[in-house]
Amino acid sequence: MSDFYTELDALLGDQQDLTDIRVTARRCWFYDFNGYPLRVWQGQGKMFDSLGNEWLGTITPGGNDLHQTPAIQDGRDGTSASYSFSLVIPDIPGQAAFELYDALKADQWRVNRRPLTCYLALFLEGEGMRPSTPLTFFKELTMMSPKFSETIEQDNNGVLVRKYKATIITKDGNFGRWNIPNGTYADAIQKERAKQQGVALDRGSEFLALLANRTYQLPK
C-alpha cells in the first residue's frame, strides 16, 4: 500500500466518532500540455509536493474557483463519458496568461491525446502547504479537444477584466476501445478468444458481471 493510504488508515485509525477524524485530502490536476505542463490544485496558494513540484491554487482570495472540474466516476467497458474541464488560464510568472493560451490554441497537438492526471494530496496538521505524504494517483484522462473563449467583463470597480478561458474535453481509458484488435475485455469475448487458443473454458472474466449479457454492434 502506498504511503498515502497507510497514512490515511493511521488517521482514520480507531476513531469512533466522525467528529474526531480530521483528514484533509485535496485534488491536484496535472495538465501535461506538450511544452507547457501545468499543475494546479484545488485550494488557495502554492502547494509543494514531496518531489518539490509546485502546484498553483485555483481558488482566489474571494473564494471563486477558477478551475471547474466534474465529478469523476469509474469507467465501465462500453461507456466513454466525456469530462469537460475549464480553467481561466493563470498568470504564471515568466509566462504571461496570453502566451500559454495562445500556444495551446495555435498548436492543438500540445493538447490532443495528452494525459490529464488527477492526484490526491493529504495534508496533515502543521504541514502547511508542503505535505510530506507523497501524492497518490487518482485518475488519468486523455485530453481530446480544447475550446477557447475570451471575454471582457466589467467588475464592480469599473475595471475591464479580460479573461482567457480554455475548456478541455477529456475521456477516460475506455475511449476508442473498439479500435483494438480482438475487441474488449469482456466475458463472452474472453471465452471466444480462449476457444481459439484451444482452451475449453476460461472463466477468468466472469466477474465482469455488468457486461455479461450485453450485445455490441460494431460499425462495419
Partner: protein, 224 residues
Amino acid sequence: MTTILDFPDLAISGQLFHSPGAAVEGGFTTGGARVISPEPGGFAMLEIQLAMQIDEWANPSVSWLLSKANGQVFKVRLAKTPQVLTERQIIAYKTQPRNLNPIWYIDQPINGELQTVFTATALEGTTTVVFDMAQIGPYLKPGHVIGHHHHTYLVDAIEYDAAGEATVTVSPPLRRDIAVNDELLFRPWFVGTISNMSNARQTYDAANAGMIQPGAFSMSEAYV
C-alpha cells in the same frame, strides 16, 4: 508585469493584519446546518482604516489611491500597532502597564525598531521558523507579527528554549524560502491588492467640512 506601488504615507486610525486562512463548508457531518472546518492554505489580509484626511485639498493622495483598483499591487509597511513588537513596548512591559500610541502613520518611523536573524532554514510552504531572541528577550507573543522579505506572518504559537532561540509557528504558510542569517523584521512589509475598492470609495464626500474620511480598505495578499 505588475509594478509594485508604495502605499501613500497617510495617517491611519486602524490597521489589522490577519490570516483568515481557508475553510470548507460541511467538513464534519455532525448534523448541523452550516458547519465549516479549516482547510490548508489561505491568504493573509491587511485591513487599513485611514484617519480623517486633513490634507486632501493640497495632496489628493486618497483620490489617487481610490483609482488603483485594477489589480495594482501595493507595498505597505505595517504601522506601529500593538501587533508590531518594538523596543518601546518591551520597556513598557517593564515600567508601565500600557504603551498607548493614538495616531498611526503608514511610514512613521519607530523608535527602537528591533531586528534579529533566522537561525534555521525553512522552505516555502512550511509553517515553522526558528530565530534568535537571546538579545531581545521573550517578549514576542502569539498575535504579534514578524516579517521576512516582503511578507508578513502572524505568530500563531511560540516556544523559547534556554539559549533564547524562538521556534514559531506562523500563519499563513511561508511564501519564500528562509536561509540562515536572513533578516527578520518585527515591523514587516505587506504586499497586496485592494479588494474592496467600491466600499472604500463611498465616503469621498463633503460630510466632514472639507476633510475626507475614506472607508476601510481591505487588502488581500499578492503572492506570486
